[in-house]
């Protein structure tokens, strides 16, 4: 059942219900976006849950999620709409010889021959949806410019059909990894949300939410280690999802503590580059051994 929250904490509790622990700013911005009908531009390092935020918002609001994954060279035909050429061609061939030009034209440029792409789907949907435009920084500036009309007025112009306006207000999220400076015009139309890696306590809560059976002590140790790993200069620092995976793996293995051996055995879950593995083993693995007074005392 689609609902509209009245206060920021309603959004927050709604998100928690579907398994997403937002910080205060995230809940607030989501709430404002719903209230004001403005798109959100979400930026932050990879793996902090930008995409997941859109999914969870769709879940908690009871809306359908329409997703547009951006990539270099994405164009209108792939994002907005496309004429179904084959169907049009068949239609023309099936037509009797003496049909007039105008009739055929009226016929083949109808909605029957229109292939809806994500943006179009989001606009034309009778129920309000959550539209996720993922990794907008991967597209070209031309595509960004095309989005402007959509984001400010929620309408699409099709030359042959006229203007299609949104009957319901979609909640739009754009995510970016900040690999390219987005245009001012686009930023101007959006609310801005920067999501960073969560604080220790916050991540502990997240891990506990997704792996509740894990011992509190180990969970705390785990997020501490992950924070330590993120502090290193790595190609790809571990994301939140990887912390959760690691917690589940430890649970499966029945680990009672994170010492050097457990860490080295399971490290591949959070570190995924060969050079990174070397760095982490060298820096964090040693530290863990040192912290384990019991282990070092037993071995000496």
């Amino acid at each position: 059942m689609p609902t509209t929250p009245e206060r920021p904490d309603e959004v927050e509790s709604g998100l928690i219900d579907v398994g997403y622990l937002p910080d205060e700013a995230t809940a607030l911005v989501a709430f404002l976006a719903i209230k004001l009908g403005k798109p959100i531009l979400v930026e932050g390092p990879a793996g902090v849950g930008k995409t997941q935020l859109a999914k969870s918002l769709a879940d908690t609001l009871g809306r359908e999620l329409v997703r547009l994954q951006c990539y270099e060279g994405l164009d209108e035909a792939k994002a907005l709409y496309e004429w179904n050429y084959r169907k049009q061609l068949l239609r023309i061939q099936a037509e009797a010889q003496d049909t007039g030009w105008t009739e055929v034209q009226d016929d083949i440029f109808g909605e029957d021959f229109l292939l809806e792409r994500p943006l179009m789907t989001a606009i034309a949907s009778p129920d309000p949806v959550v539209l996720l435009i993922d990794e907008i920084d991967k597209t070209d500036q031309e595509f960004e410019a095309m989005l402007l009309e959509l984001l400010s007025d929620f309408q699409i112009s099709i030359p042959e059909l006229g203007r299609i306006e949104a009957s319901t207000m979609p909640l739009v999220l754009l995510t970016s990894n900040n690999s390219r400076e987005l245009t001012e015009a686009l930023k101007r139309r959006c609310l801005y949300l920067w999501i960073d890696y969560p604080s220790l306590e916050h991540e502990l809560q997240i891990v506990r939410l997704h792996a509740p059976e894990l011992d509190e002590k180990i969970a705390r140790r785990l997020v501490e280690v992950v924070a330590m790993v993120r502090d290193l200069d790595l190609k790809k620092p571990p994301s939140i999802a990887e912390s959760i995976d690691w917690a589940r793996a430890l649970l499966l293995l029945g680990a009672t503590d994170i010492d050097t051996k457990t860490f080295n055995d399971t490290m591949s879950i959070i570190v995924k580059h060969r050079t990174d593995i070397d760095i982490v083993a060298e820096r964090v693995g040693v530290k863990l051994g040192g912290a384990e007074d019991g282990v070092s005392a037993a071995s000496s």
Binding site: K35, R180, D233
Partner: protein, 483 residues
Amino acid sequence: MPPPPDKRPSREASRRAALFSEPLENPLDAGLTAHLVEFGEELRGEGVALGTSELLDAFSALPEVAWDEPTLFRETLATTLAKSPEDRAIFDLVFERFFFRATELAALTTGIGEAGSGDGEGNSEIDIDALREQIARAIAERNEGAMRDLARLAIAAFAQPGEGSGVLGVDVQRIRRSLELRTDPQGDMPQDDPRAEGLPRDGIRRFEQLLRQELERQQIERTEALPAARPLHELDRALPSGPLQDLASVHRVVTQLKRRLKTQGQEHRGHRRHAHVDIRRTMRASLQTGGVPITLRYRPVRPRRPELFVICDVSTSVTSASVFFLSVMHALHDSFRKMRSFVFIERVSEVTEVFERERDFKAVSEAIARDAGVADISGYTDYGRVWGELLEQIQDELHPRATVIVLGDARTNGRAPGADLFAQIAARAGRTYWLNPEPRLYWNYGDSVIDSYAQYCEAYECWTTAQLENFVKVLTAPEATRP
């Protein structure tokens, strides 16, 4: 144990009531609107690109939240006004300053003072050692409220009223030293004390900010006037410098730079129509039209890829900047086909091979530290000698299409600058640039001799990533568009 902190909340509340003295039923009354516009004006003054539409957004967003909650109010403004991480950092600084001043002003005009503040608490009541430990603990736990209260206590303990230096920054540092707040581990402390492992840098920074705020508050109360408004300290926005954790942010900047370097010049390609016809591609295209070349294909206009000679100072006076510069050199190596790199302190040493061999930045910096052997005796920069050696090594290869880039602070430590040798290098090369990691303000002070070099080259200050990007644009711009 120090006495419990006094009743701050009530004071804070009365301040807030004084500032927002209008009834809450109509939150967007003229008073607040004016305040917010003023706030936006101040943000613009600090270089945040803020449009009217953003301010309007802020106004339309504020009624939606219970904005007597400080964080909600702040986040609402932030999400509508600050649209990049850099802007957000500036926003936070300006927000703190602006609303602090506004509250203090309101307190002044409505005559809310503080009963028994400052000199009321005598030094004798405070156990200094316990205070030190409590502060260390609060910093380690990043307990905002406790830090704020303890900052007041620390001022009461260490800053005798009337004895302050008059400069807040000096007082802050004096108190910090008296408190012995350090980031390095202090082994002689007991195990459970947070100081045994060293305090987090950002925690100490935050505590300093709070100290500063409290000192400023007391000053305002004493003098009953607001101090003159000053722009943000420029260095707050400087290049990410310092130890390992900041290196990651340097890398982020450099990866962005690489991407931009790759696409740079694309926009120029379309405008230049004098390009040569590409016969091969024209013939191929003509196959579609039965061999008649209807559409002409042109050879793409390649962006200028100059031959680069990069010379980087790696002495201690530019440590933080040279980490940054080295990673920039690393990035440049991927983008320019022909490039030779040198590092120098007292002598010059070529590191082109290191950059070509090692793909990993960390290995590069290690190899340079190990093998370059640039520090001879004293470890201080010797520009005169460096130019001489460099000229010897590269003079045969310098030609008008070559570009020389020097990264350094031009501080000679009193030795001969050798500007004539530098002039010879500059004369042989097509273009010569000097990137100085010091703000222009410090140029030519002390032993900096940048001016004697600047007459032979174009000198740029380069201590923020924006300045660096600007420079890259100059460097890669096609010949025709350069002035």
